[in-house]
Symmetry: none
DNA sequence: CTGATTTTGGAATTTTTATTCCAAACCCGC
DNA sequence: GCGGGTTTGGAATAAAAATTCCAAAATCAG
């Protein structure tokens, strides 16, 4: 078998082979696939250490891919090496230059929106409210998570993280129009997520929880949101929209941080 | 004189010295100034040949700049290039060990992880694959979206965006263990999302779609993913994990861009 | 033009890096 | 468990690269 002549070909061969490879060689394949950009500037020993295999395994890997050895593989990547792209902002401009509305340009816009959202979140996060929320949730029984439409991905991820951290949590997703409001028992807590235009169902559930005396943690877009009135601490997320859709980056970051903090606090 | 600690410092020193240097050393300085980007991936002999000087001249040049030798200079450029992927699992452990696992600190880490993921996505996104994916989806009938566990939020958001853009789409979420694979009809297309450890159900559905001749668009974490083989274009997302959880920022940005592009292409 | 000083080229040496090879460990079907 | 083939780790070897050193060439001041 002859050596791949281009990086494209290399990637294909990597994808073809990766299955049906024994343990160590698969480790190599995975690490290389995830760190292709380091090949040009690393030694066998460095890459092998990264993949957590002995150097000889990496050599074997190179040969299986079709190269005569590591050096030949490295040559391919060194020749193609152009460090023009470690620069995020120029790359973004390049993507946008594909013309407005092109997939690449759209991607650039959403990446930027996400980044801006995260930056603003870092600046504006209310640490006191966050700590208070963690304290309330850490002391509660079952956590009831509700979020619909665009907030639904956040609600479902929150529930996933709670489950992984062995925190009892329940997702109120309205499936089958089944209503689970009576699952909320004294000692439980509620996390409600909604953004303008605010979802009635979410507000209703949050209101119900409040009426039963459960703590309600709200995650929403502004302090004037109807959810704010129902929540004991309300967490606001400054999400930047692009077009009609939001990136959710900041909301997710806040939510996961909340969940992990609660999970560790509960031990 | 000590070695430059940054590329900035290196450039300054180069500018300072370049005047008043004898012929051969000036050749070195000129060539290096014009080809700084090759330093990381070249040998002494190669650079010397490029500058049209003997290797020993280049060695002298490195020492005059302040390095102990060529290797030290090269290290500077290799390290500066490699994006320095932070090791989040150890950082998380440190956070906990120091008792500094405050919610605010966690939030900062997740924000940072999200930012890095987005930047990395911008740098590494495969525009050709993205365009191809958009073209395939734009020409298809119903779009079948599948993603479970941590990929579920992405799948559900994708479906939400498609619905908003009036693109017929169906979310295969395994609710009620109902299997909807026969809903996939000729002319449809499938979008499958999974990350390591890959979900069997997702792979099964993608495989089924492929077997029926539907185009499969895969969104996954690496090229060696089992999903790659099942997808006609596969889109890889370099998501940074923080602890056991990923921010999903990059995955969502890519997905929304894909959905919006498909939505507009379908008009 | 001469002698002192700097600069230069390349061969010799040292260090690092890649590569091979083989015995031990591991799997898998029986 | 037992014998087949595979896979693995590491020590030994080969290759390549970096680095040093010194004699020859060039430069320059007087």
């Amino acid at each position: 078998m002859s050596a791949p002549a281009s990086i494209e070909e290399f990637r294909n061969r990597l994808a073809d082979l990766s299955e049906g490879l024994p343990k160590r060689l698969r480790q190599c394949a995975d690490y290389i696939a995830a760190n292709t950009d380091r090949i040009a500037v690393s030694t066998v020993a460095e890459l092998a250490a990264g993949a957590d295999v002995p150097p000889s395994a990496l050599m074997r890997f190179c040969q299986i891919i079709g190269f005569s050895g590591f050096s030949e593989m490295q040559r391919l990547f060194r020749e193609a090496y152009s460090p023009g792209w470690p620069d995020y902002s120029t790359r973004l401009r390049n993507l946008k230059d594909n013309g407005a509305g092109s997939p690449a340009a759209l991607l650039a816009e959403f990446v930027e929106a996400g980044r801006l959202s995260l930056e603003q979140l870092a600046k504006s996060a209310d640490e006191a409210a966050l700590s208070q929320a963690v304290a309330q949730l850490a002391g509660a029984g079952t956590l009831h998570v509700v979020g619909l439409r665009r907030a639904y991905p956040v609600a479902s991820y929150l529930t996933y993280v709670f489950e992984k951290m062995q925190v009892p949590a329940m997702l109120h997703d309205g499936a089958g129009k089944l209503d689970h409001r009576h699952a909320m028992r004294p000692g439980d807590a509620c996390i409600a997520i909604t953004f303008a235009p605010y979802s009635d169902e979410t507000l209703a559930l949050a209101g119900d929880a409040q009426a039963r005396g459960l703590p309600v943690i709200g995650i929403t877009d502004r302090l004037t949101s109807p959810l704010a009135k129902l929540s004991s601490p309300v967490l606001t997320v400054p999400e930047v929209d692009f077009g009609a859709f939001r990136s959710l980056s900041a909301t997710l970051a806040l939510s996961i941080a909340l969940a992990v903090a609660v999970g560790s606090a509960r031990g």
